[in-house]
Amino acid sequence: MIVLFGSLTDEPLAAVVVGLTDRGADLLLIDPGDEPAKTGLAFEPATDPLSGWLRCGERSIALADVSSVHVRDTWPIREPQSRERHAALCGLLDSWPTLVVNRPSAAASNSSKPYQAQVITSCGLAAPRTLVTTSPADARAFYDACDGRVIFKSASYLRSIVRRLDTGDLDRFDQLQACPTQFQEYVAGIDVRVHVVGERIFATEIDTTATDYRYAGRVGAEVRMRDTRLPDEIATACRRLADRLQLVLTGIDLRRTPDGRWYCFEANPSPVFTYYERFSGQPLTDAVCELLHTAGDRPIPALQADSLGRAAHQERSRAAPRPPP
């Protein structure tokens, strides 16, 4: 039994449903957009193994009968009642002794890109020079230090269009005091999206003139993608990053500079892999389906909560300084 959370209007989930159905998998799809009364959940966190059940419509299943779970979406957290459902489900997904792609605690690393940047560098990947600030003077100094080659984007999980900073933006720096902002040195080069799917890794080279290829159409730029091969050390670092973030499935954004250096921007815990598959022809949906369908044959990657939030620090920690006598 495989449980899927999300909506069939979500392209990756719809593709996975088709792929798993073709494999003859037994599926239970729970759409958070459905009438709340359609679903039911009861679980006992104190039991070992975890006991409980999940209901969708007329069908109820025991949690113990589930071999894998794919999470694309859960209940929204804006409304109090759905926020409670979200919290209950996250509790289950974090403690469920089965393969969960991805557990909420692991996916949460994407809520802070500055946090992720520290984990990224601890895994041996380079991150661009990054400043997070509320200080106009600080931002101006960074702009000058980077010779004006600076982009800005959200520091949080909220999607934003990556933009180059231009001289007109400097006049708006006084607004920084109302909201911390993340600035990064612009790194020229070729974008490479890496998908780590369990043990498998796929690299897709993206050819475009747009600053943010996801929105190339808005600026009249074209996008082309093709399968590519990563240098061994970069592939190893990507696997290490996925492992350290405890993401069974992740989309890692890299850029290769003209002189052959590699930079990493972030690891997406809920990648829209079908977008890359459509351009590149890489069998990403097939890999995700295989991962979910054969989960019962492999050990379960349990959540190592005590390493979360500390991964970056552990790498860089030094003997704690003592206070003055």
Partner: protein, 281 residues
């Protein structure tokens, strides 16, 4: 030392006073005052930067340790309604990245997504540390709640919400109607309340301090210390029931309050933790 806490935080306030009494320079910043009340700027790759409030500016490399007690941004009223979600998310992302990256000890160093409600998310991890969780049900199905209340809780239970936004409420007998019948609309957490003595244990680094019971054994103390470490908490409060079969855990909080009795022992231990660098990396 930096204390990052709301002004009404008694544990943080008393700790600050004690540190100041010992001659340690302490900077207090209210997290709900950010952004607007103070500034931050740091280079993520270099782990260097500053904190600035009116009349002062501190380099991040000058910080010896941090007591971090999270609060929500309260200055969002001044932000246009359509921008509040964005600003709130950016503030959270900034503080998480900043505190995660500081080279100095941070008590408690935050993690993405937070610890969450431990009894909902980490019962298995408590058990692995030798700390049994009280029989607990998480559900939004009224029939399941009613059956658990009747058969497991013997019609006496603590009821609360999965987010932990309200304190657990003791329900008995017919009071169940208020909670159980509405479970479909509001998911709930039901916990059986075993017979025994309630005890609060505050774990501070490797120490477990229990101020309201002398029945807590060494094994239970050690289990609390292990559980706090497994949850990544240097400072945590365990709500236990000490029964004939040993200790059973009802709740774990990452934000312990200052106890009514024995404040000095707790504050001294927090000060030691901040001062001697014994915080887990």
């Amino acid at each position: 030392m930096l204390v990052l806490a709301p002004p009404g935080d008694r544990l943080a306030g008393t700790t600050r006073n004690e540190l100041a009494r010992c001659g340690m320079p302490v900077l207090w910043l209210d997290p709900s005052d950010f952004p607007g009340g103070w500034d931050v700027g740091w280079s993520v790759s270099a782990a260097d930067g500053f904190l600035a409030a009116p009349g002062m500016r501190v380099s991040l490399t000058e910080l010896r340790s941090v007591l971090a007690r999270p609060g929500s941004p309260s200055r969002l009223d001044a932000v246009a309604e359509e921008d509040r979600e964005y600003v709130s998310a950016e503030v959270t992302a900034t503080m998480l990245g900043l505190l995660a990256g500081l080279e100095c000890p941070v008590v408690n160093r935050p993690r993405p997504g937070g610890v969450g409600r431990v009894v909902v998310r980490a019962g298995g991890r408590l058990a692995a540390c030798g700390l049994a969780l009280a029989p607990t049900l998480v559900t939004w199905v009224p029939d399941a709640a009613t059956e658990f209340y009747r058969s497991v809780c013997n019609q006496r239970a603590l009821a609360s919400r999965p987010t932990g936004r309200t304190k657990p409420e003791l329900i008995e007998g017919r009071q169940r109607d208020d909670w159980l019948a509405h479970a479909a609309g509001e998911p709930l957490v039901l916990q059986a309340l075993p017979a025994g003595e309630r005890a609060n244990v505050i774990v501070i680094g490797g120490r477990a301090i229990c101020l309201d019971s002398d029945r807590l054994g060494a094994a239970e103390r050690a289990a609390c210390v292990r559980a706090a470490a497994a949850l990544g908490l240097e400072l945590a409060q365990f709500d236990l029931v000490l029964g004939s079969a040993g200790a059973v855990c009802l709740e774990v909080s990452e934000l312990p309050d200052l106890p009514a009795n024995g404040q000095h022992e707790v504050v001294e231990a927090v000060c030691d933790l901040l001062a001697d660098g014994a915080v887990m990396a």
